[in-house]
């Protein structure tokens, strides 16, 4: 029953994300980099077109391999988490960032064809510096960076409020709670309090590895963006538009895939924290009636914070799926751009 509900929830989130993505895409409109190549970026010479086609196809292949490696490694960690209960779900917490790091490393290391240089022709270069943030709008970098900072702050706070379990691992949340009471002459007397623990809670046991994995993820993203920006430009200005479109798609893919992993990771931690905090902030109300089931009262502000965390987790899960869908569509866009150049090449040959 529980697993069926989980599957329905995952399906609903995926459908919602795809619908949201379609609406956003329609609303934002704009020219896609691949369309830009169609408009003014296809070089007139056959060798130039061939180079553009080769470059886009190699990029599409690399992006597809990166996605497969990333999802594969994340799936592997989820499998390890399911099969190795003594790790108390730590692989689940690390699946997103470790998968993204593996995918980004594969993406950055896969070889790409270099732009051709015509015989003894002159080589042209621009005099403007290129950096990791040169090929996308600033918010594409600012939002994930802010999310990563929020994750670090959240992990530190959760670590500070966490307590040790029976094995001495910082993975539970502990608070004072009502443990019992007596009644005397129809009145509640002798109310007793005790310490109760709820888990799993993202304390230091989960927090420190997630923190390290997040730092490594940020470094891997920076390295991939740096390589995308610093690769040599084509030798002739004729190929500059295609090269810019290629780098723009590459930057978008890196940011979409890594942001999806980050959102997935934050959503998971927020969902677990929210669920534990919600359960911990419902106190039973003492009652004089020995047969009545005691009601519960929410303990504020923890209860509201818990609900906000659960809501945030749902929103971020949708965002993660939207970004994952976006990175898959980018692979398609890269492939389509390469095919469009190929068709123009065939057309030119037929003439």
């Amino acid at each position: 029953m529980g697993s069926a509900f989980g599957l329905v929830a995952i399906g609903a989130v995926t459908l919602l994300a795809i619908a949201l993505w379609a609406v956003l895409r329609r609303a934002l409109g704009g020219t896609r980099p691949a369309d830009q190549i169609g408009a003014d970026g296809v070089p007139s010479g056959a060798s130039g077109r061939k180079a553009v086609q080769r470059a886009f196809r190699a990029e599409a292949r690399a992006a597809l391999v990166a996605l497969l490696v990333g999802v594969g490694v994340a799936g592997l960690l989820i499998g390890v988490g399911a099969g190795w209960s003594r790790l108390y779900g730590l692989p689940y917490a690390l699946a997103g960032s470790v998968g993204a790091v593996a995918g980004l490393v594969a993406y950055s290391l896969l070889p790409r064809p270099s732009w051709p240089v015509e015989g003894n022709g002159s080589i042209v270069a621009e005099l403007s510096p290129r950096g990791p943030t040169s090929f996308a709008r600033q918010w594409v970098f600012v939002l994930p960076a802010a999310a990563a900072c929020a994750l670090v702050v959240g992990i530190l706070l959760a670590g500070l409020f966490s307590a040790t379990d029976e094995n001495g691992l910082h993975r539970v949340f502990q608070r004072r709670s009502l443990s019992g009471w007596s009644t005397e002459g129809g009145r509640v007397v002798d109310v007793q309090y005790g310490l109760s623990s709820s888990g799993p809670f993202p304390g230091w046991y989960y927090g420190v590895p997630v923190l390290l994995a997040t730092v490594v993820l940020v470094a891997a993203v920076y390295w991939a963006l740096f390589l995308a920006a610093r690769a040599a430009r084509p030798a002739s200005t004729e190929l500059f538009a295609a090269d810019t479109a290629l780098r723009t798609l590459r930057t978008r893919f890196i940011m979409a895939a890594s942001s999806a992993a980050l959102a997935f990771q934050i959503a998971g931690l927020a969902a677990i924290s929210g669920t534990v905090l919600r359960a911990s902030h419902l106190d039973p109300v003492p009652t004089a009636d020995p047969d009545a089931v005691p009601g519960t009262v929410p303990v504020e502000p923890g209860h509201t914070l818990a609900l906000a965390l659960v809501l945030l987790a749902l929103v971020l899960a949708v965002v993660a799926v939207v970004l994952l869908v976006k990175s898959i569509t980018l692979v398609g866009e890269l492939w389509a751009a390469g095919r469009a150049t190929r068709e123009r090449l065939d057309l030119a040959r037929a003439r």
Binding site: V117, N120, S122, I123, V124, A125, E126, L127, S128, P129, R130, R230, A231, A232, R233, A235, T237
Partner: protein, 127 residues
């Protein structure tokens, strides 16, 4: 933009140095403009990083550029030449182009006029 011609008798260092100096003096590279890092420009021009580093160093020695670790390589202010000289250079280029002269031939004419100007007493007074 900057161009390196592998077939040119001038070395890549000289080609980079002279073009950057000309663009700074003509005001096309404004004061405080950040230039690309050595490795980026070398990769784009398909030359050794040492060639770009040498050209930057020569321009630094000539006072046209400055390099700081965090700020990168930037154009120094106050390096733009006078408007009248720029107009004269443009006039020479247009006229030479119109009359079918190559760049080398126009440079030869300029070198001849330069030698004459240096030897004339009028110019010596200006020096």
């Amino acid at each position: 933009m900057i161009t390196v011609d592998p077939a040119s008798p001038a070395s890549p260092v000289e080609q980079i140095r002279s073009q950057l100096a000309a663009q700074i003096r003509a005001g096309r590279l404004a004061a405080d403009t950040r230039l690309p890092p050595v490795r980026q420009l070398a990769a784009d021009l398909r030359v050794a990083p040492g060639s770009v580093a040498k050209a930057y160093k020569d321009l630094e020695a000539a006072g046209l550029l400055r390099t700081a670790r965090a700020a990168g390589t930037r154009v120094n202010p106050g390096q733009v030449t006078t408007r009248s000289l720029l107009d004269a250079a443009e006039e020479l280029a247009h006229t030479a182009h119109r009359e079918g002269l190559s760049l080398a031939e126009a440079q030869g004419l300029l070198a001849q006029a330069w030698a004459e100007a240096e030897s004339s007493p009028d110019t010596a007074r200006h020096h």
